[in-house]
Amino acid sequence: MTEPVLETRAITKSFGALKASDAVSLDLRPGEIHAIIGPNGAGKSTLIGQISGALVPDSGAVFLDGEDVTALPPQVRARKGLARSFQISQLAMEDSVLQNALLGALGAGGSPWRFFRPALSDRPLRERAEAALARVGLTEQAARVTAELSHGQRRLLEVAVALTMAPKVFVMDEPMAGLGTEGSAALTRLLDQLRHEAPILLVEHDMDAVFALADRISVLVYGRVIATGTVEEIRANRAVQDAYLGGET
């Protein structure tokens, strides 16, 4: 079997008496989309936080491309090839759409320690940013101020910024949230292609998207992974039905 690109080994994180992550072990293999589902409060955000580096686990370890990155801050993990999107858009709202995309290109392919020439006239940087915007269909919005974008367009820009980084791994925190049916379908098609560039760890509430995209699904309940398997396995799993799917439908 191929080496996982991203792996968590028994990571545990408590806030006071609450165990938000309880010995969570997951892996993400090349070319796959691994979806994490679970009811609200299951610890999905805490998990993403520990994978991206915003939170440090109390115990356990996170491996990126075979390297232990548990102690590294988010920016170092990003430079090692981990790109994430945020559940609540984290964008420079006063800046243009293109500038936001440039920022992603800057972190991955450029240096921020240049003080004189305009970022916009850096050809390689700009081409990279524009290519990412084109892939999510935001080319025509490039010059607009980000704050003027619709909610759905902001979600797409989140994905575009991650794309500019040409990462080894995508970690996406509910990219479909708030998108209409049409938007979801478009983004589903995009993610479907993306998995061949880098595998995707996908936290998502939209079950249609999850079942359409995921190679594997892990179910998180009260901070623990109660099941991992293919779509069919998860659909058939009794514990999952009891704990989660049954409750929703």
């Binding site: 920016q75 964008l91 921020p112 320690w113």
Partner: protein, 327 residues
């Protein structure tokens, strides 16, 4: 050309023409006022880099103003008394040469900014405000107790320092020099705001988590911005000391830190010319209102309160018709 660009051009034209008129009309005091405005503007341009672009509400920028001033004071006082600064391990003499003094001011204030920034940027929000204010007070009290360089009384420098090819004792020549420095720094700041560094710094103010997620360290971006910002304000301090031919602990005072920030607000935060317009307006108010009433700070306070509560965006914001600057 946008309305803001028109305003900027008018400001530059005014800064060039009004002092020339003053020479023609033989109004040397107007030139002194204009020089004061230009130098204070430079100090505020420095702060605006940290505040406007970086979102760092530093209430201690007088520290750098004072460091720049004292760099000039110390070097020039040794030169005027013909005593070396130190003899061991290397002999360092004083100097009356502006370029050297400027360089020392810039390096010294950048180093102090590096130290203060390293401590204070570990925090954010109100902590940062209170800490920068406290460090300002530390330098204030330190210079008061520093008897070797005048303590509370400060240091007088009897003859203005020299610049190659100019007679700095002629007011308009010194003014021209200060204006050129200001314009060069403005060009630099304008380039910086568009540069990759400016882009990243500006994003770190708006969405720090995003900046981290693309692999950049907001702390380092802010620290570098704070250092550049401090160096610019330090340079302004050296010029201010040469204008007054006097340095004293009041250059480090918290009131001055507050006033530098006020210039920016009056003019407009994060706008290239905001601090310039603010400083010019401040010096004009100080002159006119100060002539009408000894208690003109009451009116300044009311004006400031009005701007903060009702006219965010400052004077340029009102004139250009936009609440906030976008690039």
């Amino acid at each position: 050309m946008s309305r803001e660009a028109v305003i900027n051009a008018v400001v530059v034209a005014g800064l060039v023409l009004v002092p020339l008129w003053a020479v023609w009309a033989d109004e040397p005091f107007t030139i002194t006022l204009a020089t004061r405005a230009v130098v204070l503007a430079l100090a505020a341009v420095g702060l605006n880099l940290a505040l406007g672009l970086g979102g760092l509400v530093s209430l201690g920028h007088a520290v750098f103003f004072g460091i720049g001033g004292y760099a000039m004071g110390v070097l020039a006082s040794h030169a005027q008394s013909y005593t070396p600064l130190m003899e061991w391990p290397v002999l360092i003499e004083g100097t009356k040469s502006m370029p050297i003094i400027w360089l020392v001011s810039i390096v010294a204030s950048a180093l102090v900014a590096l130290v203060i920034g390293s401590v204070s940027l570990r925090t954010s929000g109100v902590y940062f405000i209170m800490i920068t204010l406290a460090f300002g007070q530390m330098f204030f009290f330190f210079t008061i107790s520093w008897a070797a360089y005048g303590g509370e009384d400060g240091l007088s420098i009897y003859v203005r320092n020299g610049f190659p090819g100019l007679n700095t004792l002629v007011p308009i020549q010194f003014y021209g020099l200060c204006l050129v420095v200001l314009l060069v720094v403005l060009v630099f700041c304008s380039a910086l705001a568009r540069s990759p560094f400016g882009l990243a710094l500006n994003a770190a103010r708006q969405a720090p988590e995003r900046v981290q997620a693309v692999g950049l360290d907001p702390f380092r971006l802010r620290l570098v911005a704070f250092v550049i910002s401090g160096a610019i304000t330090g340079l302004a301090g050296a010029l201010f000391a040469d204008l007054a031919r006097f340095v004293s602990p009041t250059m480090f005072s918290w009131q001055l830190s507050g006033e530098i920030m006020v210039f920016i607000i009056i003019g407009g935060v994060a706008r290239l010319f905001g601090p310039v317009v603010g400083a010019v307006l401040f010096v004009m108010l100080e002159h006119w209102l100060g002539g009408l009433s000894d208690y003109w700070h009451v009116f300044l306070g009311l004006l400031l309160l009005g701007i903060v509560l009702f006219a965010k965006g400052g004077l340029i914001g009102v004139l250009a018709g936009k609440a906030r600057a976008h690039d």
